[in-house]
C-alpha cells in the first residue's frame, strides 16, 4: 500500500531527495513503528505526527492512501 508523507520545518532534512512531500510504499497492516523505521527521525526529537489530521496512538496502523504530516514543536500566536 502507498501512503503520502509531508514533512515540515526542520524535519524536512529527513526527507529523501530534499522533497518535503513524498510517497512511501509499506506492506499492508504496517504500524507506526514500521513507518518510523523508514524515516530516520530520531525518537527523542520532539515532533507532532498526524494521520489524516488526527494524532495517532502508538499502536496505530497505517492504511492505504493515508496522509501523514510531521512537524517539529511549535507554539502559538
Amino acid at each position: 500500500m502507498k501512503i503520502h508523507i509531508k514533512l515540515y520545518g526542520d524535519l524536512k532534512r529527513f526527507a529523501p531527495d530534499r522533497e518535503n512531500e513524498f510517497d512511501l510504499v509499506l506492506p499492508a497492516g504496517a504500524v507506526l513503528s514500521d513507518l518510523y523505521a523508514r524515516i530516520d527521525i530520531p525518537a527523542d526529537l520532539p515532533h507532532t505526527i498526524l494521520i489524516n489530521g488526527r494524532r495517532p496512538d502508538e499502536a496505530a496502523t497505517v492504511k492505504d492512501r493515508d496522509v501523514i504530516v510531521m512537524f517539529p514543536q511549535l507554539c502559538g500566536g
Binding site: 526542520d10 507532532t48 489524516n52 488526527r54 494524532r55 511549535l74 500566536g77
Partner: protein, 609 residues
C-alpha cells in the same frame, strides 16, 4: 521593596496633576503585579457599569515584578481599563522595550484618570512626570509621533502612543509601543484617545532591586542553560518562522479559520504560511527586552502595490486577514499589518471585521451603495484600503470601526460575527479544538487565546497531548492554563517562554519556575499553593468586575456557527463545539454558581468577599 520601584504614578488628565504614591506591598504580594495589580486598581477606582469612553474610566498601565529584571522575556506590561468594544475588562499585553524603560523611569504602574481638554503626552524621566502639549502630533501616525517625541525629549527614551485610530476612538484601537509592538486588543487605544492622551514617553536610569541577587542569577543561568541546550540542534519554530509558522499546524489539524469561520481549512495556506513569510519578506528577527527567542519579524515588501517596511505579521494577523478573508496574497496581509501598526489598530479585530463584511456582502445583506465599493472574498486590495479607511474612519471605514458584532447586527445578521462578548476570536477553530471554544467563551476579555491557551495541550502537546476533538475533561486543564496565564501576565513575562520553560509539566503546568523567579526577585516568599491561589484570585477578581458590569452566563457564549453547524471540511468534518457541556463542567471546577458567578466559598478562600 524588591522587584519593584515601589511607586504608582497617578495622572489626573482633567487637572493636569501628576502625583506619586507608594505601591502597597500587601497588594503587590496578593495580586503579583501587571494584570493582577491592574484588576485590583480597576476594581478599586473604576466604574464597571459606566461608559468606557467617559472620563471616569481609568486607564491603567502596569508592569510586573519581573519586568526589567533580566529574567528571560521579563519585558511586559499590561493595559487594563474597561473596554469600549466589549464592556468587559481589558488585559492588553505588550513587550518590546517600553515597559522595561517605564520601570527604570521609576514607576511600576501609571493610573490615568479624567480627560484633558487638549491633546497632551506624558513625559516621565527618572521619576519626574510632566504633561506636555501634543497638538503638533495629534493626527500623526504612530511612527511619526514616536520620531517627533523622541526628538523633543531624549534619545534612548521609549514611546507608547496611539495613532489616528485611537484619536478617532475606533472601538478596537491599539496602543503601540516601540513603533511595532501592540497592546492590541479590546480598544485600549480608544480609551487613551478619549482622554486626549496621545503618548507616554519614558526614560530612566533606575535598576530594579532584587531581593536575592545570587539566587536570581543562579536560577536564571540554570533556566537559560536548559533553554539553550534544547535549541542547540533544532532552533525553535518561533525563532525560525515566528508565530506565522503556526499556519501549517492549524491547517493540518483543520482549525485554520477560513471564510469568516465557515470552515477550518484553506486551500491557499502555503502562500500565507510562515515559511513563505521568511523566504519572501523577512529582513531579520527582532526580540523584546531580555528575550532569547526573538519571534518578532522585521519585514519589507518591495511589491509595488503593497510597498512598505515594518514588523509582522503574527500568526493571528495572517489568519484574520488571510484565510479568514480567503486572501492568499501575503504581501497584502503584510501591508495591512503595517497600516494597523501605523494607524494603531488591532489586527485580529480588523481582519475578522473585514471578513464578516465580505460575508454580508456575499449574501447581499450589505450593498455596494452602503459600502461605497464592491467587496468579495479574496479581495486583497480591499483588505488594504478598508484597513486604511477604518483607521481614519473614512466612509465605510466608519462602520467597520465598530467591530464585526455591531456591523453584522446593524445589517441584520449578528450571528455572523465571530465573537464572544463582542470581541473577535483569534485563529483556532473550536469545532476541531474543543477547549479553545471553552477558553473563548470564558475569557474575561471575550474572544482571546492569550488568557489561557488550550492550543498548547490540544495542538502543541504541552504539557501532554490531549485529543482536540474530545470535550470531556477539558475544563480542569483549561482552568489550569487560565490561572497560569494570569500569573505570566502579572509577573511581566511572555507566554511563549514561560509556558514551556517555567511551568512544571508533570504538575499540570504548575508555575514552579515563575515561583522561583518571583521569590528571588521580590522576597515575597510565596509557597506554590499561595502563588497558584494568586492566579485564581486574579481570574475571580476579573470575573467579579464582569458581574458588576452586567455580564451573566449567557455572555459565556459562542456563535451558533460553531456550536450548531457541523464543520464542513478537514479532520473535524461533521463536528460542532460542545460548549454547553464543557461550561457545566467548568463552572464546577471553578467553584462558580450555575449562573457563572464566583461562589462564596471561592471568594472567602481568596479573600475577595
Amino acid at each position: 521593596m524588591y522587584g519593584w520601584m515601589g511607586n504608582i504614578l497617578r495622572v489626573n488628565l482633567t487637572t493636569g496633576q501628576c502625583t506619586r504614591e507608594t505601591l502597597d506591598p500587601g497588594v503587590a504580594r496578593d495580586y503579583v503585579g501587571g494584570r493582577g495589580l491592574g484588576i485590583y486598581l480597576l476594581t478599586k477606582e473604576g466604574n464597571p457599569e459606566g461608559d468606557a469612553l467617559a472620563p471616569d474610566n481609568p486607564l491603567i498601565m502596569a508592569t510586573g515584578p519581573l519586568t526589567g529584571t533580566g529574567a528571560p522575556t521579563g519585558a511586559r506590561y499590561m493595559v487594563m481599563t474597561k473596554s469600549p468594544l466589549t464592556g468587559a475588562v481589558t488585559c492588553s499585553n505588550s513587550g518590546g522595550k517600553f515597559p522595561t524603560e517605564m520601570k527604570r523611569a521609576g514607576v511600576d504602574a501609571i493610573i490615568f484618570s479624567g480627560r484633558s481638554e487638549k491633546p497632551v503626552y506624558l513625559w516621565l524621566e527618572n521619576g519626574d512626570a510632566t504633561l506636555r502639549p501634543a497638538d503638533h502630533v495629534w493626527g500623526k501616525n504612530t511612527h511619526e509621533t514616536t520620531d517627533t517625541l523622541l526628538e523633543e525629549t531624549a534619545s534612548g527614551a521609549k514611546v507608547a502612543c496611539i495613532g489616528p485610530a485611537g484619536e478617532k476612538q475606533v472601538l478596537f484601537a491599539a496602543i503601540m509601543n516601540d513603533k511595532h509592538r501592540a497592546a492590541g486588543r479590546s480598544g485600549v487605544g480608544a480609551v487613551m484617545g478619549s482622554k486626549n492622551l496621545k503618548a507616554v514617553v519614558v526614560k530612566g536610569k533606575g535598576r530594579v532591586p532584587l531581593a536575592d541577587q545570587e539566587r536570581f542569577k543562579t536560577f536564571n543561568k540554570q533556566i537559560l542553560d536548559i533553554f539553550k541546550e534544547g535549541v542547540k540542534e533544532t532552533p525553535l519554530g518561533l525563532t525560525v518562522n515566528g508565530t506565522a509558522g503556526v499556519v501549517m499546524a492549524t491547517q493540518n489539524f483543520g482549525v485554520l479559520p477560513t471564510k469568516n469561520w465557515q470552515q477550518g481549512t484553506f486551500e491557499g495556506w502555503e502562500k500565507i504560511h510562515g515559511e513563505a513569510l521568511t523566504k519572501k519578506f523577512l529582513k531579520k528577527n527582532s526580540a523584546c527586552y531580555g528575550c532569547p527567542i526573538g519571534c518578532g519579524r522585521l519585514t519589507k515588501v518591495d511589491d509595488e502595490r503593497f510597498r512598505g517596511e515594518g514588523e509582522g505579521p503574527e500568526y493571528e494577523t495572517i489568519y484574520a486577514m488571510g484565510s479568514n478573508c480567503m486572501i492568499d496574497d501575503l504581501a497584502a496581509i503584510v501591508k495591512a499589518n503595517y497600516l494597523c501598526n501605523e494607524l494603531g489598530l488591532d489586527t485580529i479585530t480588523m481582519g475578522a471585521t473585514i471578513a464578516c463584511a465580505m460575508e454580508l456582502a456575499d449574501m447581499g445583506a450589505l450593498t455596494k451603495e452602503q459600502m461605497g465599493r464592491s467587496l468579495s472574498w479574496g479581495d486583497a486590495d480591499a483588505l488594504v484600503e478598508l484597513t486604511r479607511m477604518t483607521g481614519m474612519r473614512e466612509g465605510f471605514g466608519d462602520l467597520l470601526a465598530l467591530g464585526s458584532y455591531r456591523l453584522a447586527d446593524r445589517f441584520g445578521h449578528p450571528e455572523l460575527a465571530p465573537v464572544s462578548k463582542k470581541q473577535e476570536f483569534p485563529g483556532y477553530e473550536p469545532r476541531g479544538s474543543q477547549a479553545m471554544g471553552l477558553a473563548y467563551a470564558t475569557s474575561p476579555i471575550g474572544g482571546s487565546h492569550m488568557r489561557g491557551d488550550p492550543a498548547y495541550f490540544e495542538l502543541f502537546s504541552v504539557p501532554e497531548s490531549m485529543d482536540p476533538h474530545e470535550w470531556k475533561g477539558k475544563a480542569k486543564v483549561t482552568k489550569a492554563f487560565q490561572d497560569l496565564s494570569a500569573l505570566i501576565d502579572s509577573a511581566g513575562l511572555c507566554i511563549f517562554f514561560a509556558v514551556r520553560n517555567l511551568a512544571a509539566k508533570d504538575l499540570g503546568v504548575a508555575p514552579t519556575g515563575i515561583l522561583e523567579y518571583l521569590n528571588a526577585a521580590t522576597g515575597a516568599d510565596y509557597t506554590l499553593e499561595e502563588l497558584m491561589a494568586a492566579g485564581e484570585r486574579i481570574i475571580n477578581a476579573e470575573r467579579l468586575f464582569l458581574a458588576r458590569a452586567g455580564f451573566t452566563r449567557k455572555d459565556d457564549s459562542l456563535p451558533d456557527r460553531l456550536t450548531k453547524t457541523p464543520a464542513p471540511t478537514g479532520p473535524a468534518k461533521g463536528m460542532v463545539c460542545h460548549l454547553d457541556e464543557m461550561l457545566e463542567e467548568y463552572y464546577q471546577v471553578q467553584g462558580w454558581t450555575e449562573d457563572g458567578f464566583p461562589g462564596s466559598e471561592v471568594l472567602t478562600r481568596l479573600g475577595l468577599e
